[in-house]
């Protein structure tokens, strides 16, 4: 309780620290102070190859830049932890171990066969964290580094910079129709299904599953879970469901499309609008051909832009309706603002800044291929990976099992995804089948 000492929330809330760190990173990238953040490379049989670039412009080992990244991140987060009331000295060694686990998790996802199956980093990061926490247990000293929310919120501010609204302006109607007509309808359907019919107790779990199903899997689940203040176990469950069905759908959908002789472009739009993960969309689309790959990719990319809109809407709805005392009067704008998760402000501000200021000012090449591709995107990737390792370390199977509540979340996902498949197929047929729009001439 605050006993008379008026601490500024701008310095003493985790949300605001996420905004400051996120914007400091974006500023460093925009001014060229930090030009790249290392990514691990693909490897086949020797895991050490992940540290070694074998071709292209960036030859040589990435070990030193990786160590520098870890050190810089560790120091910045240690400062945040210190100001937030924690102990920087305890945080740093724990952070080092969590970063190391992130390197191993991400490294596994860079193995070529693992990539081909679409088993992304979150699978391995959660697996390692859960394995430790549910077997030998997490030592007290390691808990100091498991700041999953701080990593997620900072990563979300960086994710905001990737949501470029400018892309919407120069895109045609068919992709927009498929991605934007279906997504809100599916979210509302799944939310109502979970709350009214399946009567799942946790609304944050329902909305997180709804966003993961209808927008773009892991990233949307992270953003919505943070906006609705879902528990870590709920986010793990939603991400787990999404990851499993992503792999299944990536393998099955192209076969089904070919088997029934469906129009390739309609099938591609169907894939883009339904498979949760962007990478799996590309893989499934590529199976149908080059044009199909592009259509699937662009539908998915338009859908991805909705992450920000959904996260913002969920945050407002939660503050105004879900979290408020049902007996109290309608909350004022000030009360909503006080409860509002502030990192969402950073997320939206980063998106608007990059879409409407930096893109026109610096150009697409500098922003997309420079700032985002070289710095912001990989940094955000590391933060999410550390977040999932931390979530695994902070979760236990008993709590996760209790979230399953008789298999209802599984049923919610399956029914919701089935509805998504049917509605998206209809929208894809109307948009890409030459009904509502002229047929694409590729």
């Amino acid at each position: 309780m605050n006993q008379g000492t008026s601490k500024s929330p701008l310095l003493h809330s985790e949300d605001w620290w996420a905004v400051w760190i996120g914007f400091a990173a974006l500023l460093a990238a925009t001014t060229g102070l930090i030009q790249t953040v290392p990514k691990l490379h693909r490897w086949t049989s020797n895991p050490l190859d992940m540290f070694q670039a074998t071709g292209g412009a960036d030859q040589g080992t990435i070990l030193l830049p990786l160590l520098f990244t870890a050190l810089l991140l560790g120091l910045v987060f240690a400062l945040a932890v210190r100001v937030l009331g924690g102990r920087a000295g305890q945080f740093l060694p724990a952070f080092a171990v969590i970063f190391l686990l992130s390197v191993i998790s991400y490294g596994l996802s860079r193995q070529v066969q693992v990539q081909a199956y679409g088993l992304e980093y979150a699978v391995w990061a959660l697996a390692f964290g859960l394995l430790i926490s549910n077997t030998v247990g997490v030592p007290e000293w390691l808990k100091a580094g498991a700041r999953s929310e701080l990593y997620i919120k900072t990563g979300l501010v960086l994710l905001g910079a990737e949501i470029l609204f400018g892309h919407i302006l120069d895109i045609g109607g068919p992709g927009l129709f498929v991605a934007w007509f279906v997504t809100p309808v599916v979210i509302l359907f799944i939310y109502n299904l979970g709350v009214r019919y399946l009567k799942i107790g946790s609304k944050p779990l329902i909305i997180t599953i709804a966003a993961a199903t209808s927008v773009c899997g892991v990233s949307a689940a992270i953003a919505t879970a943070a906006a609705s203040r879902a528990k870590k176990e709920e986010l793990t469950l939603a991400v787990g469901l999404s990851l499993i069905f992503t792999v299944l759908m990536m393998i099955i959908m192209p076969y089904a499309i070919r088997a029934v002789g469906m129009d390739t472009l309609v099938g591609a739009a169907w894939i883009g609008g339904t498979i949760d993960s962007t990478g799996a969309v590309i893989a499934a689309g590529a199976f149908l051909g080059q044009e199909a790959e592009k259509v699937a990719a662009v539908v998915k990319m338009i859908q991805n832009i909705l992450i920000g809109v959904v996260a913002f809407a969920v945050a407002v709805y939660w503050c105004a309706r879900v979290d408020r005392d049902p007996c109290a009067a309608k909350p004022s704008a000030k009360e909503i603002w006080i409860r509002f998760p502030k990192f969402i402000v950073g997320f939206v501000a980063a998106s608007l800044l990059f879409s409407f200021v930096l893109m026109p000012l610096l150009g697409s090449e500098t922003v997309e291929n420079g700032i985002l591709k070289q710095m912001s995107v990989p940094l955000r990737g590391w933060l999410f990976c550390m977040a999932f390792v931390s979530i695994g370390l902070e979760s236990n199977f008993r709590d996760m099992a209790s979230q399953m509540s008789g298999g209802k979340p599984f049923l919610l996902y399956v029914v919701g995804q089935s509805f998504n498949l049917i509605l998206t197929l209809l929208a894809a047929y109307l948009a890409f089948g030459g009904i509502l729009f002229a047929r694409l001439n590729l």
């Binding site: 991400y106 070529v112 679409g118 980093y121 591709k373």
Partner: protein, 76 residues
């Protein structure tokens, strides 16, 4: 053996079981036979179905640029 010792032993055994499961899963994926279709194509063409670094800024961006140009040129 003391109760604490037995508990510690069980924990280590669970850890080893979990590590074995992860290792088996990994080995099955890495060196086992790969079913045909999408996964095989991914392997043949080096397609990454695990978008750790958001595909918007990777190769997909190029597909997006090309596709946007095509879509923008279509009569609506």
């Amino acid at each position: 053996m003391s109760r604490a010792g037995r508990r510690g032993g069980r924990k280590v055994a669970h850890l080893l079981e979990g590590m074995l499961l992860i290792t088996l899963l990994f080995l099955a994926l890495a060196f086992g036979s790969v079913p045909g279709g999408v996964v095989e194509q991914n392997l043949d063409h080096g397609i990454d179905a695990t978008p750790f670094f958001y595909s918007e800024a990777e190769g997909v961006a190029q597909a997006g640029h090309e596709m946007r140009a095509v879509l923008a040129s279509q009569p609506q």
